[in-house]
């Protein structure tokens, strides 16, 4: 086709035009324009003609739009007005609908905020995707470890070319920091390699990341730590005394954000401090205290590195025989949510997300039930609309639009509710969540929740209502078909979810109580632990004597920190059990240790002060050790532990900090066996109710020995409570979830029963006139709903059993799933449902039949 030929006008423009004017065909406009276009082609050329056509097309747009606006909004306005009228006429239903949806959305949004927070960990590091932690698994017992020895990093550097950077971090250091008259114990300090700041993105406020921690005797502080010591003054280049060594501040970084697993308020170099120096002997392959992070070069698959890593590490046998461990890279971003061995917080993320979605579903079900129950009222409207000429699509739009408005209204209320409940929720999850309106991810999440609600709640009623046939509704009274079967099913689903959540709450609570009230092997109440500082540890016996003189202090004992792993042999040992060398925990204690802790000796005897042999070579083992060593009669058996031969003189009941952790095989002795066996803590048994008195005298002693150090202590029971925070949190959150779900379900149920009663006003009236008692009518109305609750139980029990069994499997010591919890959950749900239904039923049953039957 030559450019001068009489071609057709631009296709797109033609399509647009024919869409704009639906009468364009009728009035022959398209053919006319095509004709003009053709003639223009001949006279002015194709390009000009096309241009002209486009101008015609676009010129028509403004008028078309204003036309649309005028006509389409007329319908919209009408729909909106009808919605408002219906809302006004049925205030209760409107209230139930909106409140239900708002509560459902609030829960879901709160959980969304929490999930978003928990998944945001470490994402602020620019290199987060390439950073991995070196972890390993001991194949003998499938335990996973995240800590590695100090020399590992140097070996990796020498043998692997896959890493851009390697950084070691020694977490959980404790230092006494002094500046002029300010002395604090900093718990959260770390020691790290200087490349830390190249790998992780901790923004510097003062100093530069490139030369931080490079020069000897330097430290990096966080903003708030610098503020603490130097106030508002200049901190760069000033000196801080760390454990008595003056170190220069070479940089100040912004405070570590909450969503970071690597936490510190002060970073020291490895080489500066004596205490830190101890463990950086390049040959010390058996001190597992470091986290080794690697940054993998781009384009290298970490899965590729894992086998090579294991092979390479097999060469360093000083630590574990080869073939017994497996090395792997663990992504930094997974550190917070996943535990090395699997599981971890991610389970709660899923659990709570499901619970939140369940609640949203429950509230949507309410909406569906109430909307379809109300359909009789809308039937006439639908009939008339259809007769006048509305098609089904328009009606679908109308009803979906109504759901949209309900949801929008609820969303508004939900946001207000969140603003009020967020502080309480933060308190519950121990987080500092903020409501970030402008965060893109949050807005997308919010939108998704909103749309999900509209679709879940609105689609069925819209389909159902728009399908109503005008002939049926306009000829006589409209009857709902199917006797509300669908609604019954939805009610059952609601109760299944509620009962499930109640079961979860009860089981989690039970597990919590089980763990908290576990037999810890010692009496944790009124027992105080006091750290021994250097100046105190050389005079332990004096301090003990002085403290025990105090009337409110019952007993005092000393102990060293627990050691882990070492040469371990015993009489008649099965060679298969040599793995226990790595598993054994051992601890130097004072002879009155078990006595003070209240631990029970179940075989043999405790250490005796008078017996020199006890001091020289007496061992006491715990029950777990006896079990693992497979000893029938442990007492008087010969035992060898890290270079010392001795005999077992007694067996003590397992002393542990709760059932959340696995038990360890432990050995206790009196004489130092290793260079680390130094008394490090006192355990002080205080007379019940005398804590303040005792504390005063303990502090006095403390001050005498440590004039420039703050008083530190810990109560055993409080420390143990801390360990159950996660479980306590979970049980509480589940409790609230269960409450909300039951509340919303009952809200809907109440609406449904009220509606059913209203539908059957005449039937109830006639029954009463014929002599039915109120109680019979209450039973009549209750029957159906009770059936649903019973059916819900049948479905919820196996589900609850399955879910909770899975959940409990994560605990080494768990309570069993007693049938009682299921029965209790069923009873709770049934009683609440019964109450809800009965309130409505009583109202219907006690109404005067005359008023029901007068109008006919």
């Amino acid at each position: 086709m030559s450019p001068r030929s009489t071609g057709r006008p631009p296709r797109v423009a033609e399509i647009i035009l024919s869409r704009l004017y639906d009468y364009s065909r009728r009035y022959g406009m398209l053919s006319d324009l095509r004709e003009v276009h053709a003639s223009l082609c001949l006279t002015h050329g194709r390009r000009k003609a096309d241009l002209w056509y486009w101008r015609q097309c676009l010129g028509a747009l403004p008028k078309y739009l204003s036309y649309c606006l005028a006509w389409k909004t007329t319908m919209l306005r009408n729909h909106f007005r009808i919605w408002l009228r219906i809302l006004y006429r049925n205030k209760t239903y409107g209230f139930i609908n909106i409140l239900g949806l708002a509560v459902g959305m609030t829960c879901t949004i709160l959980i969304l905020l929490w999930v978003q927070y928990e998944t945001s960990y470490e994402k602020f590091h620019t290199n987060a995707d390439d950073i991995y932690l070196i972890a390993w698994e001991r194949l003998a017992n499938n335990r996973h470890y995240s800590s590695t020895p100090y020399p590992l990093a140097e070996r990796l550097e020498a043998e692997f070319s896959d890493f851009t950077r390697i950084v070691r971090i020694k977490p959980r250091e404790r230092h006494i920091i002094k500046h002029q008259d300010k002395v604090f114990i900093e718990e959260q300090t770390i020691a790290a390699d200087p490349s830390l700041f190249a790998m992780f993105t901790f923004p510097f406020l003062l100093g530069e990341s490139d030369n931080a921690l490079v020069d000897p005797n330097t430290i990096v502080l966080t903003e708030s730590t610098a503020q603490k010591y130097f106030g508002d003054g200049e901190s760069l280049g000033r000196l801080l005394e760390v454990d008595g060594v003056p170190l220069e501040v070479c940089g100040v970084v912004r405070d570590v954000p909450d969503n970071s697993e690597i936490r510190f308020n002060l970073i020291t170099r490895f080489k500066d401090l004596r205490k830190v120096k101890e463990y950086q002997d390049p040959l010390r392959w058996n001190y597992f205290a470091f986290h080794t992070f690697v940054q993998v070069k781009p384009g290298i698959d970490p899965l590729d590195i894992n086998p090579r890593l294991t092979v390479a590490m097999d060469r360093y046998r000083s630590w574990l025989p080869s073939g017994e461990r497996d090395f792997y890279l663990f992504p930094l971003k997974k550190l917070h949510l996943y535990e090395l061995a699997g599981g971890g917080l991610i389970r709660y993320v899923y659990l709570f997300s499901f619970a939140a979605i369940f609640i949203l579903v429950i509230s949507c079900i309410n909406f569906v039930n109430l909307s379809t129950a109300q359909s009789a009222q809308r039937a006439k409207e639908v009939g008339i609309r259809k007769v006048i000429g509305s098609d089904r699509r328009l009606l679908l739009g109308q009803f979906l639009g109504e759901s949209f408005l309900y949801a929008l209204f609820s969303l508004g209320i939900a946001i207000v509710l969140i603003l009020f409940t967020l502080p309480a929720f933060n308190n519950l999850v121990q987080k500092n969540l903020r409501f970030e309106y402008l965060d893109a991810g949050f807005i997308i999440g919010l939108l998704a929740i909103f749309l999900l609600t509209v679709i879940l709640a609105g689609s069925y009623p819209a389909v159902y209502l728009s399908a109503i046939q005008p002939v049926k509704t306009l000829r006589g009274a409209f009857r709902i078909e199917g006797r509300g079967m669908f609604r019954q099913v939805l009610v059952v689903i609601q109760f299944v979810i509620s009962i499930l959540l109640i079961i979860c709450t009860l089981v989690v609570l039970k597990q919590l109580r089980f763990m908290k009230h576990a037999d810890l092997g010692f009496d944790e109440e009124n027992l105080l632990s006091l750290p021994l500082t250097q100046s105190m540890s050389i005079r332990v016996q004096t301090i003990k004597a002085r403290l025990s003189q105090h009337p409110s202090i019952v007993k005092v004992t000393a102990s060293a920190p627990t050691n882990h792993g070492g040469l371990f042999r015993w009489e008649g040992m099965d060679p298969d059990l040599s793995y226990l060398e790595n598993e054994i925990w051992f601890k130097m204690v004072d002879h009155d240790y078990f006595d003070t802790l209240g631990a029970e000796i179940i075989a043999g005897r405790s250490f005796l002060k008078e017996r020199v042999s006890d001091f020289r070579d007496g061992f006491i083992v715990n029950q777990e050790a006896v079990k693992l060593m497979r000893l029938e009669s442990p007492v008087d058996k010969a035992l060898h532990l890290v270079g010392t031969d001795g005999t077992i003189i007694g067996v003590v009941k397992n002393i542990h900090a709760g059932y959340k952790e696995n038990l360890h095989a432990e050995v206790y002795y009196l004489r130092p066996l290793t260079q680390w066996d130094r008394y490090a803590a006192l355990d002080i048994r205080i007379e019940a109710g005398e804590i303040p008195n005792a504390m005063a005298s303990i502090e006095e002693v403390w001050k005498e020995f440590n004039p420039d150090r703050p008083f530190e202590y810990a109560f055993h029971d409080a420390e143990i409570d801390k360990k159950y925070r996660q479980e306590e949190q979970t049980s509480r959150i589940f409790g609230y979830f269960a409450f909300v779900s039951i509340f919303v379900s009952c809200l809907g149920l109440s609406g449904l029963v009220g509606y059913a009663a209203a539908q059957r006003t005449k039937e109830i009236g006639i029954r009463k006139i014929l002599g039915a008692a109120s109680s019979e009518i209450i039973v009549l109305l209750n029957k159906n709903f009770l059936k649903s609750v019973l059916l819900a139980n049948v479905l919820a029990w196996p589900m609850g059993w399955f879910v909770m069994r899975e959940w409990l499997l994560a605990y080494p010591y768990r309570t069993d799933l007693h049938i009682g919890y299921f029965v209790a959950a069923a009873a709770i749900a049934a009683v609440i449902a019964l109450l809800t239904v009965s309130i409505q039923a009583v109202r219907a049953a006690t109404s005067d039949p005359v008023s029901a039957l007068r109008h006919e």
């Binding site: 009728r26 009035y27 022959g28 053919s31 006319d32 015609q56 010129g59």
Partner: protein, 110 residues
């Protein structure tokens, strides 16, 4: 009967002139010829729609001719009713202009 506007009069006259050749493009050309001015397509179709609603003209699909383009055209034809309205308008015009001098000025007559 409602009085015809000048615009409507022009359209009806143009359609009458065109006889059985009255379709969009031709009508527009005729009007431009009669008035000596330009007119938008939009105006053409809007006015035609109005005239149809008022039953001054009728529209029919052109399918008599062998010409393929012709089949898609819509032809307009003035109705009896339209013609009467046009005549009414002419009468009104005539009586309006009857005593109006061609040399009329804005000066006040004494």
């Amino acid at each position: 009967m409602k009085k015809l506007t000048i615009n409507e009069q022009i359209f009806l006259i143009a359609i009458w002139h065109l006889n059985d050749e009255a379709y969009g493009v031709k009508i527009r050309e005729k009007i431009m010829e009669l008035t000596g001015g330009d007119i938008l397509f939009g105006t053409v179709y809007n006015t035609l729609e109005y005239l149809i609603r008022k039953e001054y003209v009728t529209a029919r699909k052109g399918k008599t001719s062998q010409n393929k383009a012709d089949n898609k055209r819509v032809y307009y034809r003035i109705t009896h009713h339209g013609l009467r309205a046009l005549q009414e308008a002419r009468k009104l015009q005539n009586s309006l202009w009857h005593n109006f001098p061609a040399e009329a000025t804005t000066e006040i007559k004494r």
